[in-house]
Amino acid sequence: MKIVAPIRQLDEIAALARAGADELYCGVTPREWAERFGGASANRRPGGNLPSLAALAEAVALAHRNGVQLSLVLNAQQYSVEQIEFALAIAHRYVDMGGDAVIASDPGLLLALAEAEPELRIHVSSVATCRNADGARLYRELGARRLILPRDITLDEAAEIAAAVPDLEIEAFVLNDGCVYEEGSCNTLHLPGALGGPICLDRYAYAHRHRDGRPLSAALAARLQENDEAYRRWLWYRFSCGFTTTADGLPFGPCGLCAIPAFGRGGIHALKIAGREGPPERKLASVRMVRRILDAHDNGEAPAAVMARARGLRPAHEHCATGFMCYYPEVVSRASEAAQPLRDGRAAGAQ
């Protein structure tokens, strides 16, 4: 499996390659794009892009000199016709630079790219929210070479898709940055923090009610309050445990390291580290973490040992035990179920 890591500035490239990344990805917002369409529309991360096509060309060259590939992200949820034409122009320049792949979500852009640059590798972004084999097969027929699965997918589903469409590479999230809503079904912007940030982190107060107008019973109100509190705890984990790290700088937060053995069995081709907008140290630490666990797996270490190694990376086993920090919490559930007999019949039937 390959490790795919994000960059937003040139000086990250050599360090991430040395740390064990196999592929890198970046966005670009040329000044002309910002002038025509605004800075927020090129892709989903207005603060995490290279500033110019010249910088992109330099990034491609640097990546290749360091033995890694560099993919270009053009994955806004939707582009206008004018934006697709502009994006095609960027893609032509990128091909001339020797760029390796474009990551796209908008099916219109995807078709346009496949027609205009048939030799260019197209990776379907997680923003496309493709989580079934028929969708994967359609994208393959349209010219895609890789599908990046969305975050909210199970290991079994990932393996089923990989098995059903063997000529499409499958990439799955392994570390950092959890969305609450599905990226392809979230029609909002990541506002500046002072204005609320991502909508899922914004300060919304919930006034629960019965849809038919009946008043809530005290018992139900209490259950809803407990659920809200549990949700807020989950949210803290989902957003990198309050964006904290270990003393050594290893990031907490959404993590699929324990799932690497399952990814291997399931035919997953690449492991995605998210967080284009994060600081360089975080990206570097993330690549090192994934490399360490992936090397253990590749060296034939038993799955249980790989999982133990993954949990041992950060001295916070209580975080792992909650399952709230997991991209694939069924790993925790299964480990727990294997460790002790089920006591609750309803919970056993729940899944």
């Binding site: 079934n132 359609l138 599905e182 029609n187 300060r203 009610r209 259950r223 809803l224 729940a350």
Partner: protein, 324 residues
Amino acid sequence: MSAPLGFLRRPSAPASASVAASTASPPSLAALPATGVAIAVAMVRPRALEHLGADTPARAAFWSATLHDEALAAWLAPLRPTRLRVGSEFCERLLPEPAQLARTLAEASVAGLEVCLLTPVASPEVLRALDALFALLPPGAEVVVNDWGVALRLRERHPLLQAVAGRILCRMLKDPRLGNPQYAPPAAHGFASPWTRRLLARLGIARVEIDLPLFASADSFAGVPLPLGVHLPFAFVAKGRMCRTAGLAREGPERFAARPFCHHECLGLAARTERTRDGTHDAWETLHVGNTVFCRHSAANLATLASAVAAGRVARLIVPGETL
């Protein structure tokens, strides 16, 4: 909202007089009677279908009780619904069981309604479940697809059913926190792209559906290559696969995880949501139902839709028949 939103500012933001949130007073719904447009009613669990086929006053009472908007209820009431939409666009747990769908087909037939099946973004398990449901639908029945994989499956395995591109496939910025049209990035439906048109044709999609943009204008309905359905009075803002409400039914590591399990708590519960941040004022009322955030359109935005209906740009209105 000033400096921090500079990155959103459109250099050539049109100062369109038709923007719904502009200071100009739009015509009211009452001034633009809904004629020449069909109406479809969406219900996760259909019941009391007789209200839909009743006379105008009874329908007005139904819409008023369901939507809590007297003006909108009066505007919709003259239209006799012709189509019942069953299932869910947002949640794989809300697909009907085959027996439920069979019952609904029979009841809808009695009520003189055609049935359209709503389908969500699909996991492999959902795809398998859909095959059994598709098999129950009569030839020509509509299926709203919100997943390209579902569209392909429909085309390949159930070619006698009619695919409709749902609003989740129509990506459009709808952030209820952006109350100033100057800062709202362009929100076009995207179906005008020739490449998207080719994809729609390839998949045999014959109709498309959209939410109203938050700042709708006459342009919002232009360039659609197929008959257009428009949802009202709510736009969906965001949906997760994770469901906050389902957390009531779950515990342990997967309380808020992707693997679906719940007792359909969302059918009975919803939440009005309001930002508690100082100095922020959302322009749209927001509510949270199950895994989805919705916002309610302003009267001005609905009036813009009414103008589009009057101009013949909308083939079908789509209205929830259950209170959110």
